[in-house]
């Protein structure tokens, strides 16, 4: 029966090629616009560490009090005092304080300023690497002992390794950052989660270049107060010593908690810590802490750029208009054939059969629109770099699941659009129609 309906549908569509093309084009454009924008949105809103994100948490402690809260929320970074307290007590299975470092590093041997390399690095604790499953190519992370002894060690990326040493196993070599020499202990395989959820929450084309021990960096005063926010709304400017004892926030922090009990325990611990600070007279307010896992934290911080969401919204609007358009045209097209319907019904076709016949026809239009949509989506994803910033456009990928989804969306949307027109067609009264002819 289906084959027969298909034959009828093809015949009907070929009878009005203009209208058929118009409907298919509209579906194709609507679906392609939505799917292109969805591919960007999907890339941008994807979980940066899907296998572990529900075990990674960002603690927030309120060091400023009610007057400085936005919607009751504590700030998203920690003060040095709080970060160190959390590190010392070590209540999670793994944890690390994290601060970004932007450095221009000279290539060894050259000494020429022309060969300075701009790098993005982080000062972290040894547990940072196993906590975030950072993959190593050569060597390994430094140890907790190295942290405590404040040893000048560095873990570098493959890319930075290429730039500095031309690749290969560079463990044991030395890199000079500012005035200190750091010994390479590990080289990381390509690792560039998007966004950089552990610090910054930005989308970046290039992976992080190096990691150095947090305690060494702080003890040797080689970080600047850049990036700190203070409750008087200003940069401290004055330098590191003042910053370390200040209530300014500048440290990102991440903990790993393996099960709900551990999460609960950590929450209680944070509240106990804040109460303790309250008793000590440092905080003059009740504990106002947060402990969000990575997806919740990214959601809270609105990492998806509003332009990306707006574009998706507009594209979906286009799809909606295209669908309304299809409903109207299908209705016209189906009812034009009232005579034909009447004859089929008079010859014994049931209402359900008529319904099935018209849905088949709509499905065929949907499939055609889907094919066009696939083509337009492919073009759209290739051209998305023209209208979106490079670091976002790079996240839009054409993969089998996207293509399948495009096709499905086209067919499903067209069938949905056909529900009412097919219903109307199946309700055509045979006697009346036949008499009128």
């Amino acid at each position: 029966m289906f084959a027969y309906y298909l034959e009828l549908a093809v015949r009907s569509l070929r009878r009005s090629p203009g209208l058929t093309a118009l409907m298919m084009l509209a579906i194709g454009f609507g679906v392609a616009a939505s799917m292109t924008m969805y591919s960007v949105f999907r890339g941008v809103s994807a979980d940066p560490i899907p296998w572990k994100s529900s075990q990674l948490f960002v603690p927030q402690i309120d060091p400023w009090g009610p007057g400085h809260r936005e919607k009751g929320e504590p700030p998203s970074a920690l003060t040095y005092i709080d970060a160190m307290a959390l590190m010392r007590r070590h209540r999670a299975s793994r944890q690390s304080a994290i601060i970004p470092m932007w450095r221009s590093i000279a290539q060894p041997r050259s000494g020429q300023s022309d060969s300075l390399i701009d790098t993005r690095g982080y000062a972290v604790y040894s547990e940072f690497f196993p906590m975030l499953d950072v993959p190593f190519h050569y060597g390994s992370a430094w140890s907790a002992d190295d942290d405590a002894r404040k040893r000048p060690l560095v873990v570098i990326s493959d890319h930075f390794n290429q730039q500095m040493f031309g690749g290969g196993n560079s463990v044991g070599k030395t890199i000079t950052i500012d005035k200190h020499d750091y010994r390479v202990v590990g080289v990381v395989r390509y690792w560039n989660p998007q966004p950089d959820f552990f610090e910054g929450l930005q989308f970046r084309v290039d992976e992080p270049d190096f990691f150095v021990p947090f305690q060494f960096v702080v003890a040797n005063h080689v970080i600047e107060s850049m990036g700190s926010t203070c409750n008087n709304g200003r940069d401290l400017g004055a330098g590191l010593v003042a910053l370390l004892s200040s209530e300014c926030i500048w440290i990102s922090y991440m903990v790993e908690l393996d099960n709900p009990d551990a999460v609960q325990a950590y929450r209680q611990y944070l509240d106990a810590y804040a109460s303790e600070q309250q008793q000590l007279g440092r905080f003059h307010w009740k504990p106002n802490n947060r402990l969000r896992d990575v997806p919740a934290f990214l959601d809270y911080k609105d990492v998806v750029p509003s332009n990306t969401r707006l574009s998706l919204l507009v594209a979906q609007g286009l799809l909606a208009v295209c669908l309304v358009n299809t409903v109207g045209l299908l209705l016209a097209k189906f009812l034009r054939r009232s005579g034909e319907i009447a004859v089929r019904r008079a010859l014994g076709a049931s209402r359900a059969a008529t319904y099935a016949q018209f849905l088949t026809e709509a499905g065929l239009i949907g499939a055609g629109g889907g094919m066009l949509g696939l083509m337009f989506t492919a073009i759209g994803v290739l051209c998305v770099g023209e209208v979106m910033p490079a670091q976002l456009a790079a996240l839009a990928r054409l993969d089998p699941s996207l293509l399948l989804l495009t096709l499905l969306l086209a067919v499903a949307a067209t069938l949905l659009a056909a529900v009412y027109p097919a219903y109307r067609a199946s309700r055509v009264s045979p006697a009346l129609q036949l008499k009128a002819q």
Binding site: A33, S311, L318, V321, G328, L329, V387, Y420
Partner: protein
Amino acid sequence: MNVYPILIALRRHKVSVILIVLQIALTLAIVANAFFIIGHTIEHMTRPSGLQEDGLIVILQKWPGLSGVDGDALTEKIDALQRTDLETIRNLSDVQDVAASSQENAAGEISLDADRKGKFARAGYFYGDEHLRPTLGLHLIAGRDFFANEIRHGEALPGSSVVIVSKTLADQLFPHGNALGQTVYQDGKAAAIVGIVERLQTSMGEDTNWEFNSVMEPLREDVLWTAYAARARPGRTTEAIGEIHKALFAVKPMRHMPEPWAGIHSFSELRARSFREERGIALLMGVICLILLSVTAAGIVGLTSFWVGQRHRQIGVRRALGARKIDILLYFQIENLLIVGSGAVIGALCALGLNTWLMKHYEMLHLPLFYVATGVLAMLVLGQIAVLTPARRASNVPPVVATR
């Protein structure tokens, strides 16, 4: 022509009419907002900054950590390096003028009294030496440039005794036009207005009421990140950029210009780059609007064609009863006007509703009624054009059809 019979006839196609009205309303709601985004972007990109952009070159660089010196000694060392650079650039054949300039301008408040009790205005700050005004190509409409001996150097702190302000700021503080020579206060410190420039856009006050409130201070900022502005001789911008690069690295190779945000660039290049994302979004909105309008127009053509086919006999009867071709044509045009008109009215409300929602959830400005009105008009015209072909075909139905 009487509208009543048209309305009666439309009642027989309720669903189709509702669908087309809905489609037009949705289209208008989206297109009005999208065009507003496009219009705003274009207006933004073409808003004159007051600078003479052609031939303007911006240089931004970092001195790598100057070991062994800090505090005042560091300031003096950087100042010496800056002065050498400026002298070097000034002597190049393709360079007309060069000035010390600040990497980034800061914003602050400027008031008529020391305690900021009375009138005050927010403004963007430009630090630079006596060459900055001519190098940027700002039009001095009153007063004078800074004198060389007025230029301070060091960290960017208020305290200059003289300032040059933009006309917008001068008019805001002194509505009677007597700003020149007056004393103003910044952070409690007094400064005399010695010059007024016609127009100078700040980089921070975008879309605010202080977008063109600018203050120029005679200060060579001595920080590790230093910036210069240079003006190339007419038509020699590219050559000048190459020359400056060569000369600077020849005089001192230990300097750092991390691309893309530092280095030596023509101002127009930087400007184009900073508008890239905004331009992209506008382009995207444009493409989507184009598809949207085409789909809607095609939908009107399709639906009207169907109606014409359906009413073939009726049209024949009307023609046989004495209706002229023009009457039939008008019938369809007016019918379309009614449908599109009601769709447009609903769409206008939807556009405003959508705009309110967008303002709440996205960085969107208030949609001016101009865009809504233009949108309504555009939809009406689009509808009339789309219906023309099917209506023509209807008017060509011969009266003899009635007898068949």
